[in-house]
């Protein structure tokens, strides 16, 4: 009884509710983004609009969402409407009382950004001394009140060879999941690309190691969100979509209400305060192009194209100007066959 289906609305909204932040991360995608924020009453009506459109979950991000003055009220309102509410945070502001408050506001899952098992490496990368210790403490506080925990790690030059250590660290801190996010070339991620990004061959080595950890470790969910792992034969049979999920399962909303396909594609396709979400989802020509990508270059004839669909659309667009171009992280060569793990 499994079937193909064209969804009538996004399943998830990734909502960058603010862009203010207490950290200075070297890969931040939103550091130079708008600092305009929706007024409180507008935010409430937008949340209501999202719920009415049929969206099932909102993941708040930023900036650091806990710096938003109304985050708790907004989250509480959203969860009261039946939306599943989660958040990505740097953890700095989450002590035991805050964890209890977040639980009361309806948060069911919180991802804490930790980029290295080594405190000094993480603190330096995040531009905040002591941030590793506070992030680890936050994980404990969140877990103690019964909110599911995840560690979000952006893979780049500082951690690509530390898969085993990162997974052990996550297990030691009883995180339910470790999310290895692929490096995006947006914002400071683009400015600092040469220093932080890996070569295609290095990505291949990283993903081999990460997929082995995913297979090996049963006590934690090792999550990989990069479509190019299809080149290693890692096909997610439980997913309803191929390639990037952006624009197929999820959309991004910026702090000023602008709707973009994902947080790393700076193409505005509407605004949640003025537009009908379902109409944007159905009629956006940008989303249509993302859902119907055409293979170009080495993707043409690649045996894995139907699974990876050219890899990360955001990365292809940022680095080549054309979302149909092959993902610059792809290690495949013209006419090459991919390999199994």
């Amino acid at each position: 009884m499994k079937n193909e289906i064209m969804l009538e609305a996004p399943i998830t909204i990734n909502w960058a509710i603010n862009n203010s932040c207490n950290f200075a991360c070297r890969h931040c995608y939103s550091r130079n983004d708008t600092h305009d924020e929706l007024a409180r009453d507008v935010l409430f009506s937008c949340i209501e609009k999202v719920a009415k459109a049929g969206v099932l979950s909102i993941n708040f991000g930023g900036g650091e969402p806990l710096l938003h003055p109304y985050l708790l009220d907004i989250a509480s309102f959203a969860s009261g409407l039946g939306l599943r509410v989660s958040m990505n945070s740097n953890g700095w502001l989450i002590d035991a009382p805050m964890a209890a408050t977040l639980k009361a506001a309806g948060f069911t899952k919180i991802g804490i950004s930790i980029d290295s098992h080594l405190p000094e490496t993480h603190d330096s990368f995040r531009g905040m001394p002591g941030s590793h210790a506070r992030a680890v403490a936050a994980l404990g506080h969140i877990s103690a009140v019964g909110i599911a925990t995840s560690i979000s790690t952006v893979i780049c030059r500082i951690n690509n060879a530390s898969v085993k250590d990162l997974v052990s660290f996550a297990l030691d801190n009883r995180a339910g999941q470790i999310n290895f996010h692929n490096f995006k070339c947006s914002g400071l991620g683009l400015s600092n690309k040469d220093e932080l990004d890996l070569s295609p061959e290095e990505w291949k080595v990283f993903y081999r190691s990460a997929l082995a950890a995913k297979e090996r470790e049963k006590g934690i969910d090792v999550s990989l969100d990069d479509p190019i792992i299809a080149l290693l034969g890692a096909r997610d049979t439980s997913s309803m979509v191929k390639g990037s999920v952006c624009g197929k399962l999820s959309l991004n909303i910026k702090s000023n209400g602008d709707i973009t396909p994902c947080g790393f594609i700076p193409v505005v396709i509407g605004n949640i305060s003025t537009d009908d979400l379902r109409q944007v989802w159905r009629e956006s020509t940008v989303l249509d192009r993302m859902r119907n990508k055409k293979p170009t270059g080495k993707c043409s004839g690649c045996s894995k194209y139907e699974d990876c669909l050219g890899g990360c659309t955001a990365r292809a667009l940022a680095l080549t100007g054309d979302m149909n171009n092959p993902d610059p992280h792809c290690w495949g060569t013209e006419g090459s066959e991919s390999e199994s793990q």
């Binding site: 499994k2 079937n3 193909e4 099932l56 599943r84 309803m240």
Partner: protein
């Protein structure tokens, strides 16, 4: 007999347009087995299910297998043993994927 419950962690949604299409097809006598009418999400796992699957899913509210089959038998023009086999196979798949739970 075991009570069958939807896992409360599963997010799910009926797709109204697809549901209307399936209903029209059903009334016309079309084969609508491949028409997805609802989506289920649990962790990273996703499932699109057809009209019969959707009706089974909605009935996973603490009833047992007999209760689900009885309710569906009144809705669908199908032999009871065929229906029971379909329901059983579908529920086994949902259980294996963690979308439902069994309670004594």
């Amino acid at each position: 007999m075991l009570k069958i419950q939807r896992n409360p962690n599963v997010m799910w949604r009926e797709e109204s347009d697809a549901l209307a299409d399936a209903q029209v097809g059903l009334d016309r006598g079309d084969d609508i087995e491949e028409v997805g009418t609802a989506v289920l999400f649990s962790g990273g796992a996703m499932l699109s299910i057809n009209l019969l699957g959707t009706e089974i899913w909605k009935l996973c509210d603490g009833r047992n297998m007999d209760g689900i089959v009885k309710e569906l038998f009144e809705q669908f023009d199908v032999q009871e043993e065929v229906l029971r086999a379909d329901v059983q196979a579908f529920l086994e798949d949902l259980l294996k994927k963690g979308f439902i739970t069994h309670e004594e």
